[in-house]
């Protein structure tokens, strides 16, 4: 009767470092023999130098929402591999992945793993907003720069996390877009969120937007651990609201989608970037058809700028890239560019990397990586997607829909 969430319930009470990191017991630079398989594989095309710098990645690599994390870690891994293979680094780059299961309570341990590893000079991630919130201050205190490819909660850049930067637009922007779009077609919206920083944040922003557009709304929160959505689905179905928005992540939306179908809900169904992944498509089955997704993210399979990236990705992973893979690739490359510049000048410290990240101006495949004072990226587009016959298709820029 006793096991709880995915990996191990006990360590959920733990703030012990590395409680849930899968592969990341990375050795300090000194003891190279202890490098784990995963770290060395990332070091793939080893360069001739024996200086080693590491970038960390924090995100969910296990648990229900692992696909979102894996998408990103693949992107980062690809970037690191390409950098090492390019031969012009002058040092070896290693990737240290730290698994936070996407849960805030596992985040401190995951962060501690990276922070305690003095070889780590910069971090891509955390992937999720809640995880970021839990450790933003810790990373900032440790002066370890973060570039998140996907943590979209609006308040992350206003919480005094000096280390935090992101290359995607916030949920405030995304949800405002969704609200405008919804207001064009429906008069009442049922809003459900998963109580997480991301889900609730997105839902809050949406509610704000809809209210100001004079749309009637209704709110409920459902813990992300729920596996039985029949009660809430029934409530939605009998509410008569014309649209439903769910703020939360892929695995949960897919269950909700099924429950809604069972309950016979016929309205417009929408979710944010957290829902857009293959996990949703597979989990929801045909109940997922018709769902809309808003996402400040690029579809690398169609975007011309990402052609090379997509080819390399498919070659390495035997599957097309997915949500946030290109963004993670960009974030990693941006980070690498900073380290590379510093390494050319001498030793690379966390402080230097931090300063370097703040001063970045790097052209990525998804966007121009250049941060405002608060750590936001300057340029941003929100796209609208829709699932049809088990495939999520890009409909285009939200503004135009």
């Amino acid at each position: 009767a006793c096991s709880n969430s995915t990996s191990d319930a006990k360590s959920s009470s733990s703030a012990a470092p590395a409680a849930s990191s899968s592969s990341s017991s990375a050795a300090p630079a000194a003891s190279s023999d202890a490098a784990t398989s995963e770290t060395s594989s990332a070091a793939g095309g080893a360069s001739n130098s024996d200086t080693v710098y590491k970038i960390g990645f924090q995100g969910p690599l296990s648990g229900d929402n692992q696909q979102l994390g894996i998408n990103e870690s693949n992107g980062v891994e690809l970037a690191v591999e390409q950098a090492n293979a390019s031969g012009d680094l002058g040092f070896t780059l290693e990737l240290v992945k730290s698994d936070d299961v996407g849960l805030p309570d596992k985040s401190p341990a995951a962060a501690a793993t990276l922070i305690q590893d003095t070889g780590v000079v910069g971090v891509v991630g955390p992937a999720f907003s809640g995880s970021t919130k839990a450790v933003g201050a810790t990373y900032s205190a440790a002066n370890l720069a973060l570039i998140s490819p996907s943590a979209t909660n609006a308040t992350l850049t206003t919480s005094g996390f000096t280390a935090f930067h992101r290359i995607v637009p916030t949920d405030a922007v995304e949800s405002a877009g969704t609200a405008k779009w919804l207001a064009k077609t429906v008069k009442s919206v049922f809003i459900v969120d998963d109580l997480s920083d991301y889900g609730k944040g997105a839902a809050d922003e949406l509610e704000k937007g809809l209210k100001s557009a004079g749309i009637k709304t209704q709110r409920e929160g459902v813990d992300a651990k729920t596996t039985d959505y029949s009660a809430i689905a029934q409530k939605v179905a009998t509410s008569g609201d014309e649209a439903l928005f769910y703020g939360g992540y892929d695995a949960q939306v897919s269950l909700f989608a099924r429950a809604l179908k069972s309950a016979g809900y016929k309205g417009v169904t929408v979710t944010g970037n957290g829902g857009k992944s293959s996990v949703f498509t597979e989990g929801a089955g045909d109940a997922g058809d018709g769902w809309y997704f808003s996402c400040g993210c690029l579809d690398a399979t169609t975007a011309p700028a990402a052609k090379d990236f997509e080819a390399a990705y498919v070659k390495k992973y035997n599957q097309p890239s997915s949500t946030y893979s290109p963004e993670a690739y960009d974030a990693a490359n941006a980070m690498i560019s900073v380290i590379k510049d510093l390494a050319a000048k001498g030793e690379v410290t966390r402080e230097d990397v931090m300063a370097g990240v703040k001063a970045l101006d790097y052209k990525g495949i998804t966007t121009q990586v250049k941060f405002t004072e608060s750590g936001e990226v300057e340029a941003a587009t929100i796209n609208l997607y829709r699932q049809e016959k088990g495939v999520i298709n890009l409909l285009g820029d939200m503004k135009d829909q």
Binding site: A1, C2, S3, N4, S5, T6, S7, S62, G63, D64, E220, G221, V222, D223, K225, T227, D228, S230, A231, I232, Q234, K235, T238, A251, S254, L255, K261, S262, G264, G283, G285
Partner: protein
């Protein structure tokens, strides 16, 4: 009225699964005065085993309508069988040795907890750790069977409610009418003396676990079909079913049934009230439990094994 009916049936659906699981708790409690903490893993094992069977039978194929009931039955049986064997092994490993040593009650509880950890982690290792595995869609679960007061009652609900009721009636007969039932009650009340009457204690206890396990495993299949399943799925339904068993009067078979159904209904009806909200579902369950126990310390029907009142 329509909403009420909808909720009532969805409550009954949940409730009948709780009741099936609760029976396992109650039976074991009846004979050993112990909370079998690993029973939730028995339930879980039923879901996995039946998935393997059903998935093998269905595969990617299109299933003709007349085979569906057979597959369903196969799922039910394999779930029950798996539950029964896990429960049997559980008793052998985690209980019998301690019983022989005359261990204190809590030691049993802890060894059952150890077993529960082990089984759940083992299932995670053997299969996977996603919390949302699903059975193949081999029939239209959501087909509307009939409508009451405008509420559409779906196939899966009907199957679960009737399946559970049939199993419970069967169990009730088994325990109240037969020698097995007598020996269970005898061991429950005073094991050494029961032995003097010619009752084989070990066998009786084993059988009790097996019966409870079979029901729990079958419930695992039903649950997996209706919702999703995982290696940790046992936990919450397990706790609730245990609560249901206590609610009805632990050790009391009909109590477990009534407690389970009641808990399921309450759990759906109360949060459906406009001012409460579905997120309080689990709280409602526990608050009701606490209140009932404070008012009626031995549960609704009291503690007698195998009797209604």
């Amino acid at each position: 009225m329509q909403d009420f009916m909808l909720n009532l049936f969805s409550g009954l659906t949940r409730g009948s699964m709780y009741a099936l699981i609760a029976l396992g708790y109650t039976l074991v409690y009846g004979v050993l005065q112990l909370i079998n903490f690993a029973h939730s893993e028995v339930f879980m094992s039923g879901a996995f085993a039946s998935f393997i069977v059903v998935n093998a039978l269905v595969g990617e194929n299109q299933i003709p309508g007349w085979v569906v009931p057979l597959i369903f039955l196969a799922g039910l049986l394999s779930g029950g069988l798996a539950g029964a064997s896990v429960a049997w092994g559980l008793e052998r490993i985690a209980y019998r040795a301690l019983r022989r040593r005359g261990a204190p009650k809590l030691a049993f509880l802890i060894s059952a907890i150890g077993m529960s950890f082990l089984l759940s982690a083992l299932a995670g290792k053997l299969f996977n750790r996603y919390t949302n595995n699903q059975f193949p869609d081999y029939f239209n679960k959501d087909a509307v069977v009939f409508t009451v007061f405008g509420a559409e009652i779906r196939l899966i609900q009907v199957i679960i409610i009737f399946g559970a009721i049939i199993m419970m009636v069967f169990l009730d007969r088994l325990v109240s009418g037969t020698k097995l039932g007598k020996s269970i009650r005898g061991v429950a009340e005073d094991a050494p003396t029961a032995a003097l009457m010619g009752i084989n204690i070990d066998k009786t206890i084993s059988r009790t676990f097996v019966i409870g396990g079979a029901l729990g495993g079958a419930a695992g299949f039903l649950y997996g079909t209706a919702f999703v399943f995982s290696n940790t799925m046992g936990f919450l339904p397990g706790v609730k079913a245990f609560a249901a068993a206590v609610l009805g009067g632990i050790g009391n078979i009909r109590g477990a049934m009534i407690g389970g159904l009641l808990l399921g209904i309450i759990e759906v009806l109360i949060p459906a009230l406009p001012f409460i909200g579905t997120k309080w579902t689990d709280v409602v369950a526990f608050v009701v439990l606490v209140m009932v126990l404070v008012l009626r310390p031995t549960g609704i029907l009291g503690e007698k094994l195998g009797r209604a009142a």
